[in-house]
């Protein structure tokens, strides 16, 4: 998907980030509903190289840091604070694949109503069964079986995460197909149940 380029409010250069102009070092006023991809200056896509994201974040945090605006006019001071806040939220959302997938799905399906509770067939019953089994394992303290369960759940979670990229790619190629977004929603839902189980298993070294 193409990135909508906006121009600097001061020098009219093309902006990388919607928050700051790297050409003339001017803070930009931004709308409340600015999307996190614009904030960090990446195209709206699931595919983001984490090293590039990290680097862009570091650059921007340095430029926007409120410490550098201590003696600036009040409006600019406040702008640097709100820009830093949204930069941090955007970075934390996009750096991790699941929250990035969740956020991107919300951006993409503004027009389309998804079934927000969809799960694979029989999944809920299986989750209930696993929760009960986990109760028993936690009670008996069987570390071998607990780590077996953790490995199994981790594996399933990884499989789900591995599907995000091809599914978003498929959607980019077939933006009219509502089924793909619904599939993504189902994946995200399932992953939350798996995480809930994983959270209950104490870490063993």
């Amino acid at each position: 998907m193409a990135l909508e380029q906006s121009a600097c409010q001061k020098c009219e250069s093309v902006l990388v980030s919607r928050l700051f102009c790297f050409s003339c070092n001017a803070l930009q006023t931004f709308p409340n509903e600015v999307d996190f991809f614009e904030v960090l200056g990446f195209p709206i896509s699931f595919e983001i190289k984490s090293a590039e994201l990290e680097e862009r974040y570091q650059q921007l945090s340095l430029e926007l840091h409120p410490d550098f605006y201590g003696s600036a006019p009040e409006a600019e001071k406040r702008l640097s604070e709100s820009a830093t806040a949204i930069l941090n939220t955007a970075f934390n959302t996009l750096r991790e694949p699941t929250s990035r997938a969740d956020y991107l799905l919300h951006l993409l399906c503004k027009k389309q109503k998804l079934d927000e509770r969809s799960l694979p067939d029989g999944f809920l019953g299986e989750m209930f069964f696993l929760q009960e089994s986990l109760d028993e394992l936690l009670e008996s303290g069987n570390e071998a079986e607990l780590s077996g369960m953790r490995e199994d759940l981790n594996g399933r979670q990884k499989n789900i995460e591995a599907d995000y990229f091809p599914l978003f790619k498929k959607f980019e190629d077939n933006p009219e197909d509502p089924e793909i977004l619904q599939q993504l929603q189902t994946h995200l839902n399932a992953e939350r149940y798996l995480r809930r189980l994983l959270d209950r298993i104490p870490a063993i070294d």
Partner: protein, 128 residues
């Protein structure tokens, strides 16, 4: 965020935890989940086949304190009611009783869904 006293009471001493025999024709089982947080809730009712009154109810919930309290309260409320009366229980009543904050409203929705799922399971197994 602090839990209300009633939530803490139900959390510390949940009512009607357990299971009923799923294969019993007079038992209805509702299994629901909240994808927002991964909570899973099972609520079961036992119905008197003649009077259609709910004579027993059990639950088991894997979730936060509010989800446990909501389902515990739901089992207390359905007991002694007819299945038609139990169908009318609304999540807002649970919210009020337990003073749930806005972020925990979905827990009460889950409990209402669980009651309805249990009743509809009972009905689908007892079509005359």
């Amino acid at each position: 965020m602090a839990y209300s006293e009633k939530v803490i009471d139900h959390y510390n001493e949940p009512r009607n935890v357990g299971s009923l025999d799923k294969s019993d024709m007079n038992v209805g089982t509702g299994l629901v989940g909240a994808p927002e947080c991964g909570d899973v809730m099972k609520l079961q009712i036992q119905v008197d086949p003649l009077t259609k009154e709910i004579v027993d109810a059990k639950f088991k919930t894997f979730g936060c304190g509010s989800a446990i309290a909501s389902s515990s309260l739901a089992t207390e409320w359905v007991k002694g009611k007819s299945i038609d009366e139990a169908m009318t229980i609304q999540n807002v009543e649970i919210v009020e009783e337990l003073s749930l904050p806005p972020v925990k409203i979905h827990c009460s929705v889950l409990a209402e869904d669980a009651i309805k799922a249990a009743i509809s399971d009972y009905k689908s197994r007892n079509k005359d």
